[in-house]
């Protein structure tokens, strides 16, 4: 059995988009030559600003999008070269929890109907025991007593409860890999920890591998503990390594800036901190990204070379990789 559960090998995803009244075709490189892997039961956080391609990379790993270049391997096998049966098995194993639970759960179906569908589809339950299984799932995600929730419609549940339903649905088919795409960012700050704790419990219980996509490093730190982090900028992976070490000692200037900008719930620290030293606040357009290192237009340390040569993601030892000419 290969070491990694799921792996992206130099994957790129380009979208063809048209702009303006006269359709001028343009290529948006949402993910550009990214490589990564997730081992059995491992947690990897994918962090970056909106539009950096983190959700696209998550969708590529789930087989929801087909890469333009490169390949996605599940247990060493290219998912786009699988036969129908293998692909279905892979799909069952790779599940997603979306950002907005109000959009993710069908509003005209009862909770029972939403949760029983996948179980019946994958033949994990039959007509006679499916009700029982749904009740077990609801209890597993802390919606107790289950009978209170089964026949309700999503509009009668709060955001936090709906996110629990979304989690129940994702784990119902016994996956080995879960992508949580900003799974708590829509929730109240006070509710986030509850949902993260639930995810952590389930992760441990079922030995799930998890790709946790977020823009919030503090949340990532709480969720991943000793996991890994991957920092993305405009479609490229710019740094990866052990999460705690990256936060303590960032190497890529972009990572440094992200850490400096994260709000700190400590008034003395927060008020004395200077702003990150960026040359420009605005993110460049992803359609027309800067040449060379895409971060050079904002990077406080950029030199001539940065605007000309694309830095390779290279191993700098200790499990750390960075893509920067200067470090």
């Amino acid at each position: 059995m290969p070491d990694s559960l799921i792996e992206a090998r130099s994957v790129s995803k380009y979208f063809r988009i048209s702009r303006g009244a006269i359709k001028e075709a343009a290529i948006l490189k949402a993910v550009d030559d990214a490589s990564m892997e997730i081992k059995n039961g491992e947690t990897v956080c994918l962090v970056g600003e909106s539009g950096c391609g983190k959700s696209t990379l998550g969708r590529l790993l789930l087989g929801l999008l087909e890469p333009t270049h490169g390949s996605i391997l599940y247990k060493g096998k290219d998912i786009w070269n699988m036969n129908a049966r293998e692909f279905m098995e892979y799909r069952r194993n790779a599940q997603i929890i979306h950002q907005d639970p109000y959009d993710a759960i069908n509003p005209v179906r009862t909770i029972y109907s939403s949760l029983s569908g996948p179980l019946l589809h994958y033949k994990l339950a039959n007509r006679s025991n499916v009700r029982e299984k749904v009740a077990e799932l609801l209890e597993l995600v802390g919606l107790i007593p289950a009978s209170d929730f089964m026949n309700r419609f999503p509009c009668r549940l709060s955001g936090g409860q709906l996110q629990r339903i979304a989690i129940a649905r994702a784990i119902s088919v016994n996956p080995s890999f879960i992508v949580a795409d900003e799974a708590v960012s829509m929730l109240d700050a006070s509710l986030r920890i509850n949902i993260l704790n639930l995810l952590l419990d389930l992760k441990k219980k079922f030995n799930l591998a998890c790709l946790f996509i977020t823009h919030d490093l503090a949340i990532a730190r709480y969720f991943a503990k000793d996991g890994r982090v991957i920092i993305m900028y405009l479609g490229n992976i710019v740094e990866s390594g052990n999460l705690e070490e990256v936060i303590r000692k960032p190497m890529h200037p972009y990572t440094e800036v992200l850490i400096e900008a994260s709000p700190v719930p400590d008034p003395k620290v927060a008020k004395s901190r200077p702003l990150p030293n960026l040359r420009s606040v605005e993110i460049p357009s992803a359609i027309n990204p800067p040449p060379g290192c895409k971060f050079h237009t904002r990077c406080p340390y950029a030199i001539d070379k940065c605007s000309k040569e694309v830095p390779e993601l290279r191993d700098v030892g200790g499990g750390r990789k960075i893509a920067c000419h200067l470090r």
Binding site: S190, P265, V281
Partner: protein
């Protein structure tokens, strides 16, 4: 009811405010006998979970209530002279934006999609003052520079051509056009990325320090409060339960709810093992618990807490608290 601060220091005071909404399930009490003072020249953060009534309270300061809502009782006094809740419609229109401006939640969506950015400025100003377009443009350019946008380029844009962070800053610039005395910011950064958020917060803080403008900053996220606020008011199920200086609230919280909120806020510095979720579920707002509304979730609750609601009282050191644990 006694709250500290001499009347001349207080820009706007809220006393015993109750706001209710008629909804299919019945009557929802969104703000329940709330008391709050905003002092001249401070940034006050109003913090609470969603549904606690913080937005409704802020809207009440401008006497804005949704059609199904009603300000049942209470008094809102601006500078100890203007009774906001009894202003006639025409005066109210002048009061809004000129005295108190508000940046609504998801303000990025409050720009008119078929108007260029500068047309918004013209529109807003002419609704209140008779000035030439040239003057408006001059003033607006100055405000845009304030928010680190290039006036020549940005004022010609249509809203869809601007990014989320730019739109947020454009709205901020618009809100400053008439030199309001109080600026209300309702979750101004919740839809933005961390970098943009850091810049917006710093910009607001700088603006405050240079002009002395009073601000009410509404959020559910304590981490950003530490960056921006001078004082903090904590709200729970329609009531203010604690107020105090930002350092007092973070380093020495008195109300168990405040303490729980702080413990539930992860950061890049703190020890993760000390992060704890809030205890218990949020009670049904249609049938809030009797006595102290926090008592079902509180580890220190006594019989008294279950029966008699604790009043918000002065506890010295310029702070107020509604809890029997500290105030016997």
């Amino acid at each position: 009811m006694t709250l500290k601060g001499s009347p001349e220091d207080i820009l706007i005071s809220v006393r015993n405010l109750t706001v209710t909404f008629r909804v299919p399930r019945g009557i929802l009490v969104a703000v329940d006998r709330a008391n709050l003072d905003i002092r001249k020249g401070e940034i006050l953060a109003l913090v609470g979970e969603s549904g606690c009534g913080k937005t409704v309270l802020a809207h009440s300061l401008l006497n804005i209530v949704d059609p199904n809502g009603e300000i049942k009782s209470g008094k809102i006094l601006f500078k100890n002279e203007i009774d906001v809740l009894s202003l006639p419609e025409e005066e109210l229109r002048k009061f809004r934006w000129k005295k108190v401006a508000i940046i609504f939640q998801a303000a990025q969506n409050s720009l008119n999609p078929v108007m260029r950015v500068y047309e918004h400025a013209v529109d807003t100003t002419l609704a209140h003052e008779k000035v030439s377009e040239n003057e408006i443009y001059k003033k607006f350019s100055e405000m845009l520079k304030w928010v680190r946008l290039e006036p020549e380029r940005v004022s010609r844009l249509y809203p869809h051509e601007a990014s989320g962070g730019m739109k947020q800053r454009i709205i901020s610039a618009l809100s400053l056009l008439l030199d309001p005395e109080l600026l209300i910011l309702d979750e101004p950064t919740s839809a933005l990325d961390v970098l943009t958020q850091a810049y917006i917060l710093k910009f607001l803080r700088n603006l405050h320090e240079q002009t002395g403008m009073t601000m009410l900053y509404i959020t559910h996220d304590l981490a950003t409060v530490a960056e921006i606020a001078d004082r903090v008011a904590i709200m729970y199920l329609g009531q203010i339960v604690e107020t105090g200086g930002v350092d007092q609230i973070f380093y020495d919280p008195k109300h168990p709810y405040t303490e729980a909120l702080i413990k539930a806020t992860p950061s890049l510095l703190s020890d993760i093992s000390e992060i704890k979720p809030l205890p218990g579920p949020l009670p049904d707002p249609f049938s809030p618990p009797p006595g102290c509304k926090f008592h079902p979730r509180c580890a220190f609750a006594t019989d008294r807490c279950r029966k008699i609601p604790p009043p918000l009282v002065d506890i010295g050191d310029d702070r107020t608290l509604a809890c029997y644990k500290e105030v016997k």
